[in-house]
């Protein structure tokens, strides 16, 4: 097990470096620069900006310098758009915002999703099943850029119950709408996965065996069925957690939250090279780690899986 983890972690490093390289290349290919504006700059001013940020150097020098700084010091450099702010500081500052909303949305999605999915499976073809699956279908089909504004329209602009946007600190009432918006689609997926997984497991031989042993229905469900039935949920929730933690572009934008996702979209539009690379690398690392966690969880949940 330990060997497996170490091996996987070692593979992570070249993967990240490749991700950074590809991102860097794509930014270089993208037209436009962080300093371009409505009125074109006089050439002399453009030159001084390029010199100030080392953009006048040949590409291999720029690439080498960036890579060295990342590998040697873990330093992604300074944002081009936000003068004097280091990328590491920006990530450190915005991650807690994304993570706070993400984790709560994740837990909410897990609790509601698994409960609804399991109930639907246990009471297949009942009104519980149809009701929760209809909602799940809606949750999957309504994108969050539609759901968010609808929630704002109802709860903020019409009822004046909750603030329509902005980060009000943690915890605060401001976060209720973004969390619901964010978790809806995950909740729906998890419910459907949990239902499907449970249905399959409930028909399997070992559940029949458990029932034949005379175990109570509660024990059958909680001790045996859930463990196997949730396997699909587990493999889905690992990457889902990674995405939730690192911020979601749309929800942070709609609700004006100072999270990673907000920075990410802005950095791309601003051609803020170091910031884009920093955030992409961070998301990649989180994603790879979460996948590792999922694999470990598999080993725990399914006795057949051994590394």
């Amino acid at each position: 097990m330990l060997r497996f983890i170490v091996r996987r972690l070692l593979v992570t490093i070249p993967t990240i470096l490749i991700v950074i390289t590809i991102t860097w290349g794509l930014i270089k290919l993208a037209p436009g620069s962080f300093y371009s504006g409505e009125k074109r700059l006089p050439p002399a001013i453009e030159k001084s900006i390029r010199e100030k940020y080392g953009l006048d150097k040949p590409w291999y020098t720029q690439y080498g310098k960036m890579m060295w700084s990342i590998v040697r010091h873990g330093d992604f450099g300074t944002s081009l758009r936000f003068e004097g702010q280091s990328v590491n500081t920006i990530i450190r500052r915005s991650l807690p915002v994304s993570a706070a909303i993400g984790i709560i949305a994740y837990l909410l999605a897990l609790i509601v999703g698994i409960t609804a999915g399991s109930i639907a499976a246990l009471k297949q073809n009942s009104r519980w099943d149809y009701g929760s699956m209809t909602l799940a279908m809606l949750g999957i089909s309504v994108p969050n850029f539609v759901l968010g504004p609808i929630l704002v329209l109802v709860f903020s602009l019409t009822l004046y119950w909750l603030p329509p946007s902005r980060w009000g600190g943690f915890p605060s009432r401001n976060l209720i709408l973004p969390i619901i918006t964010l978790s809806a689609i995950y909740m729906a997926y998890i419910a459907r996965l949990a239902r499907a997984g449970m249905l399959e497991v409930l028909r399997s031989d070992y559940i029949r065996t458990a029932r034949a042993k005379g175990l109570s229905e509660k024990d059958v469900v909680i001790k045996h069925a859930l463990r196997g039935g949730l396997m699909p949920v587990v493999s889905y929730t690992g990457p889902a957690l990674a995405f939730l933690l690192t911020g979601t572009v749309v929800v942070e934008r709609i609700f004006a939250l100072p999270g990673l996702g907000n920075y990410f979209i802005q950095a791309s539009l601003n051609r803020d090279e170091p910031l884009i690379i920093g955030i992409v690398a961070f998301i990649a690392i989180t994603l790879l780690l979460m996948n590792l966690v999922v694999d470990i969880a598999y080993a725990y949940l399914d006795p057949r899986v051994r590394y």
Binding site: A30, P31, G32, S33, F34, Y35, S36, G37, E38, K39, R40, L41, P42, A44, I45, S48, I49, E51, K52, T78, R81, F82, E83, G84, Q85, I90, R93, S94, R127, Y130, G131, T134, L138, P149, I150, V152, L153, V154, S156, L157, T158, Y160, P163, P164, S165, R166, W167, R253, I254, F255, A256, L257, P258, N262, Y263, Q266, L269, N270, R271
Partner: protein, 656 residues
């Protein structure tokens, strides 16, 4: 659940949303958009736009930042809250010389930085030099190019000096086009010759070695980069002979025409007469920064723990993408006038989100152009909607370097074929534009009239250019010979730009029978394609004034400045130069107007409309006016708690 039940559920959901929407519509009978409860504390909550790039006033070119800098920093002058004309700030008064090529600014004695240090003339010298320094790489530096040798310093150029005599070569000996020297470049003639108004303080030292030096004829400058310099020298035999045996002296910060005379006087010498120059000085790039703090902390001097400012407010906390809180600065020279305790700037970019926040009463005012098109109908009817002319125009650029658009007749035809009046009434808040300066902004400026909508003339011109337009059986037109694949309209992705693109496309199709392809792209790509002329035909263009003078628009097509159209004409540049050398403001305006007429006749662009401001502020926000630049001197803004004194409608820009 049966199908019927599912439909029932859907209906239920739709009806909830529908009910919510109808509540919203029902609220349209109310006089204001959303809640009108003033904040409990004496604070003002404002959305100024996206996250500021930096709190350093020389860094950002944007208007969102400009409004933040107006809270934190001051320069010699400040924008008037209604007219945007310069009003005294750190300079309590000023005096131009007889041809407006040199200015003396008399500083206040009681101005202080937020850390208590006195503000002196030296602070201006430092800040101007810093703004222009190559290392600072300020994108706004070009606005200070009117100052003598400022451009040469910013571009790292060199003077040419004779090592034996110490004499510098003069520019006028090598360039026929150099205009007659302004007074600031002539021999020093202090007293009535240069300044018509006699000096007020007799004890002030009028003259200095530096001043005398500035008052010598303009020196020749050459590129600092040896490669570029040798190229320039090789290209000119006379120059080559003259520089032989001479040495090259870099233009230093100390050479630019900004001088501190004592602690409380700043003298600025320009390369040309600049009657508009004082108005320009309110721009962010001319606001002063604290030398000691900048030098001590470097790039992080603007972080809240380091920053020192000189405006009516100072930084209290700054959480990027969340909020910037500034509080009243007791050290500010006019602290008694400042009415608010705090301003909270919320960095936001999504218009509907901003308007939502405004509606529920969590912000007290929002930035310009936040009311989405689809909301205009409702919001315009409210008494908190701010309407008025804006010092900004929308136009289309034409790439004149490629056929068929290199033919002025074709360009004119496309201009004639657009009914701008119809556009303005459809867009509701803009005014049709036929010239290149905004309507209703520059008082006494004789704006020339451009071509009006005239589809027959458009078709005639196209025919003359070799693309005959024929009438089809169904009443429409067609122009089969026109190379449609050689023309497109590009714009940056945004709903309002798309609407305009489609509208113009429809006009051309209807009146000329030509369907121009539309192509949209993200902002940075768009700028790149446009400035490199990688587009065929038309491109979206918009400009808002840097300062309150027609020249800020006309200079877009000045040689060297880039228009994105590929059009340049030395004659046009010469007309502008001559106008700017003219002392009489009325005469100068007439000459600028002639230049503008010349420009619109050449038609390197198609004027579309004069923009209008469109933003909202709560009725209890007073002292904030819908001025043409949407820039607000914050010291006048306050929260009025007595509903009888609220603004019911747009506050007047003229009444005092």
């Amino acid at each position: 659940m049966s199908k019927r039940r599912q439909i029932g559920l859907l209906l239920l959901l739709t009806s909830i949303v529908g009910a919510a929407l109808s509540c919203n519509v029902a609220s349209s009978k109310e006089p204001f958009f959303g809640k009108t409860t003033p904040p409990q504390r004496n604070i003002f909550r404002y959305v100024t736009g996206d996250e500021p790039e930096s709190l350093d006033p020389v860094v950002s070119t944007g208007q969102p930042e400009a409004r933040i800098y107006m809270a934190l920093y001051q320069g010699l002058v400040e924008y008037h809250p209604k007219t945007m004309e310069p009003e005294p700030a750190l300079a309590e008064r000023w005096q131009p010389n007889n041809d407006s090529s040199e200015f003396k600014f008399y500083l206040r004695q009681n101005a202080h930085w937020s850390n208590g240090d006195p503000i002196t003339a030296q602070d201006f010298v430092y800040s101007f030099r810093r703004a222009l320094a190559h290392e600072t790489a300020s994108r706004n530096a070009y606005l200070a190019y009117y100052i003598k040798y400022a451009q040469d310093f910013n571009e790292q150029k060199v003077f040419v000096r004779d090592p034996k005599t110490g004499q510098f070569l003069n520019a006028k000996d090598f360039d026929e086009d150099i205009p007659a020297e302004p007074l600031s470049g002539g021999p020093l003639d202090s007293g009535p010759g240069e300044y018509s108004i006699p000096e007020v303080e007799t004890h002030e030292p009028i003259d200095s070695e530096f001043h005398k030096q500035l008052h010598t004829p303009q020196r020749l400058t050459l590129p600092g980069d040896p490669k570029a310099r040798n190229k320039a020298i090789d290209a000119d035999a006379k120059l080559k002979a003259a520089v032989a045996g001479k040495e090259f002296v870099p233009v230093k910060a100390e050479d630019i025409g900004v001088e501190a005379i004592g602690d409380h006087m700043v003298r600025i010498s320009l390369t040309q007469p600049g009657p508009f120059f004082v108005g320009l000085l309110a721009h962010q790039v001319f606001r002063i920064v604290p030398q000691k703090v900048v030098e001590k902390h470097g790039a992080v001097w603007t972080q809240p723990q380091n920053i020192v400012t000189c405006g009516p407010f100072k930084v209290r906390t700054w959480q990027p993408y969340d909020k910037l809180v500034v509080e009243r600065d007791p050290m500010y020279w006019d602290a008694a006038t400042v009415k608010l305790d705090e301003i909270h700037f919320y960095p936001m970019a999504d218009n509907p989100s901003i308007m939502n926040l405004y509606k529920v009463g969590e912000v007290d005012a929002v930035l310009n152009h936040t009311v989405p098109n689809a909301w205009l109908e409702v919001v315009r009817a409210k008494q908190d909607y701010m309407d008025g002319p804006e010092a900004a125009i929308n136009y289309m650029l034409i790439n004149v370097t490629q056929p068929p658009m290199n033919d002025v007749r074709v360009r004119k035809a496309f201009n004639y074929a657009i009914d701008k009046n119809a556009w303005a009434s459809w867009r509701k808040i803009v005014k049709p534009l036929t010239a290149f300066t905004p309507e209703g902004i520059f008082k006494d400026y004789p704006r020339p009239k451009g071509d009006q909508f005239n589809p027959e003339e458009a078709r005639r011109l196209l025919g003359e250019a070799g693309f005959p337009v024929t009438k089809r059986g169904d009443g429409g037109y067609s122009c089969p010979k026109f190379p449609v694949d050689q023309v497109e309209y590009i714009y940056n992705t945004q709903d309002s730009n798309k609407a305009m693109a489609e509208w113009m496309q429809a006009q051309w199709k209807q009146n000329l029978g030509i369907t121009v392809n539309l192509r949209n792209m993200d902002w940075k790509t768009f700028l790149n394609v446009r400035s490199k002329l990688e587009y065929k035909g038309f491109s979206r263009g918009a400009w808002s004034a840097d300062y309150m003078d027609p020249f800020t628009f006309l200079s877009l097509f000045y040689t060297g400045g880039d228009s994105g159209s590929g059009w340049q004409d030395p004659k046009y540049t010469a007309m502008l130069d001559e106008a700017n050398r003219t002392l009489d403001p009325k005469k100068r305006y007439q000459m600028l107007a002639q230049a503008e007429k010349f420009l619109i006749d050449a038609q390197p662009m198609i004027p579309i409309d004069t923009a209008a401001i469109n933003w909202v502020k709560k009725p209890y926000v007073k002292g904030m006016y819908p001025n043409a630049g949407s820039l607000f001197p914050w010291k006048y803004v306050y929260i009025e708690r007595d509903p009888a004194k609220w603004d019911y409608g747009i506050p007047s820009l003229t009444a005092d």
